[in-house]
Symmetry: none
Subunit: 196 residues, 4 copies
Amino acid sequence: MSPKSKEQFDEMRQKSRAKIMEVALELFAQRGYHHTSISQIAKAADISKGLIYNYFESKEALLRDIVMEAVSQFDDIEAVLQSMEGTATQKLRWVTETAIETVLKDVKHWRLLTSLGLQTDVLTSLKEALRTKTENAFALSIALFKEMGFDNPKQEAYIYGALLDGMVLHYVSMTQLDMEYPLEEMKQFIFKRYNL
Amino acid sequence: MSPKSKEQFDEMRQKSRAKIMEVALELFAQRGYHHTSISQIAKAADISKGLIYNYFESKEALLRDIVMEAVSQFDDIEAVLQSMEGTATQKLRWVTETAIETVLKDVKHWRLLTSLGLQTDVLTSLKEALRTKTENAFALSIALFKEMGFDNPKQEAYIYGALLDGMVLHYVSMTQLDMEYPLEEMKQFIFKRYNL
Amino acid sequence: MSPKSKEQFDEMRQKSRAKIMEVALELFAQRGYHHTSISQIAKAADISKGLIYNYFESKEALLRDIVMEAVSQFDDIEAVLQSMEGTATQKLRWVTETAIETVLKDVKHWRLLTSLGLQTDVLTSLKEALRTKTENAFALSIALFKEMGFDNPKQEAYIYGALLDGMVLHYVSMTQLDMEYPLEEMKQFIFKRYNL
Amino acid sequence: MSPKSKEQFDEMRQKSRAKIMEVALELFAQRGYHHTSISQIAKAADISKGLIYNYFESKEALLRDIVMEAVSQFDDIEAVLQSMEGTATQKLRWVTETAIETVLKDVKHWRLLTSLGLQTDVLTSLKEALRTKTENAFALSIALFKEMGFDNPKQEAYIYGALLDGMVLHYVSMTQLDMEYPLEEMKQFIFKRYNL
DNA sequence: CATGAATGAGATTTCATTCAT
DNA sequence: AATGAATGAAATCTCATTCAT
């Protein structure tokens, strides 16, 4: 009835889609994918169950889109890094800070991805994306450590990665258990270790 | 009186209970708690659904018992350590080796515990157990690092823990994605780092 | 906004809810609460099992709602009586007739309530309602008998109640056994006894 | 092994049977037939589930036997009455007292029978027994009232029965609801009414 | 005679998905 | 585009009954 331009419609659609994904991510991360029902998502997003199916083919498709979005955040980091000036040391500092920041800002994404990574039956469509993301992350830090002159840049990349993900894992788990975790102190340790 | 002796019944019970827990752990770790059905467990254990309820009050109780069992494995490590002779360095080496060994032998337990730790709605009865386990693990390694003369043994314990769990996390996730992970090499790195 | 108006949805809800309660009452009264399955109710109401859970949280909640509805019928009788003109004798006659009429029209409700009253594990939420109903019924007839000048109106109320419920009990039980029961004759007896 | 005479065996069997029936009656009356499980009966009787099937063909057969036993108690009353000396008035007094006494001593039986009587699907094998019992009870009191010179002995029998069962119904229901019921006073009323 | 592990049918309940409007 | 009633398959759980010993 009311004359709305195509753009307006598209914008509304995007907004609705985003809202659903946001709410779903929250719940998936909190309660797990299988333990979250479409009803719960609809209620939390304050829309009808049916509408969700207007935007996503199925619950699984919704999860897929959320995961893809999460993965693409890392692509963003990479892209910025590519076009960044400065020494490898500067870049590593920035990557470290940004990675931790991103994770903290989006613990939910990290939690969801990690949970999925622990399960065998990762949706096959996701497997490829997760693999690519993992490879890229390693490739990126290997390059940096090589540039920084490390003897065994590959090993160092694995150590750096284990430290970072180990920290976050502990941070998230312990927060869940109402325990304190010295995340900031740990970050400083990494800076010191690599003279960042 | 009874034509089947108490011992016979006890043995049957133990065997069935153990079988159920073993199969359930396998599936819970593989597919996640909520995504694993009692039917699947029964089929995999080659028993009837009903029997599971002869041994466990509910699916949740089954999970609880499995988790408790997993947690108690760490208690075992601790107990051995208590009664162990030798320097802190020797002990740390032993702990590191045993921890990795135990995790590898029981990736399932580790996966299950880690998954649960990532979710908000950890059964409250488990929360306490997981917290205690976490506290004990840290206390133990803090003590070792103090004995080894570290300036900041608490920080070192967190770093050591993050490295170890980060490694395992990567190992498990990447194995899931059919990627290689240089676990042995990483272990050697830890040995070198602490002169073990 | 919504292409099916709120009113339409409301009407659908009311109709389905009522249908379920009606069918469930029938079956609960006929076969007993525990012996009636949700499947049977669904089949009898010609709907899916799932739909019942759209309207009632659980089988027990369904029972609760039905009982509450039954209890409220007696409230109706009371309300009319309150606003009624005439002597106590006239009122007693009306109450007697209406009570028997109501019970006959809704033997199911009476049967259900009586059955529940015979069991120890009446849902605690119902206990209060049933107690209140009982107290009100007695209070009401005590008042009438007092107004009618009885020496011991409380005793008379208990006798009147016993007679009435005894009659109905026999009527229902004997009908069940394909036996005749002279309900009309019994009613006349009560009328004569109290000169109604 | 141990040499036990046939009589001893039989006695033991009878005792076990009786124990099971006693416990089952208790539970059936309390929680309802369908809501009582064989396991519960076994636990309450401190025997194994299997043993119950040594004495009763099925859960239903157990119920049947209990009901038959209950019904036969009334036969006992009748038998005594047959061989009793005295006027109809004396007999009625004795019947009234004994009936109330029996019911109080065995509320459970009364509750069970009444509950069953309220349900449509009384086991067909019981229907006949219940019908006979009902007919006998009425025949008995009709005879007494005729002897006592009542104009309409049949009607009086129905009134007497309604009063008696109504009283008991109220007594049981109200006891269930933690309310007081003046059973003794009511009995006295019946005595007065018939000059017993 | 007695046990209780084990079964399997069926009960209650949940939930992704469809569909009429 | 939006709603939520309705479905049906599958999940969790219960329980009468059997059976090896």
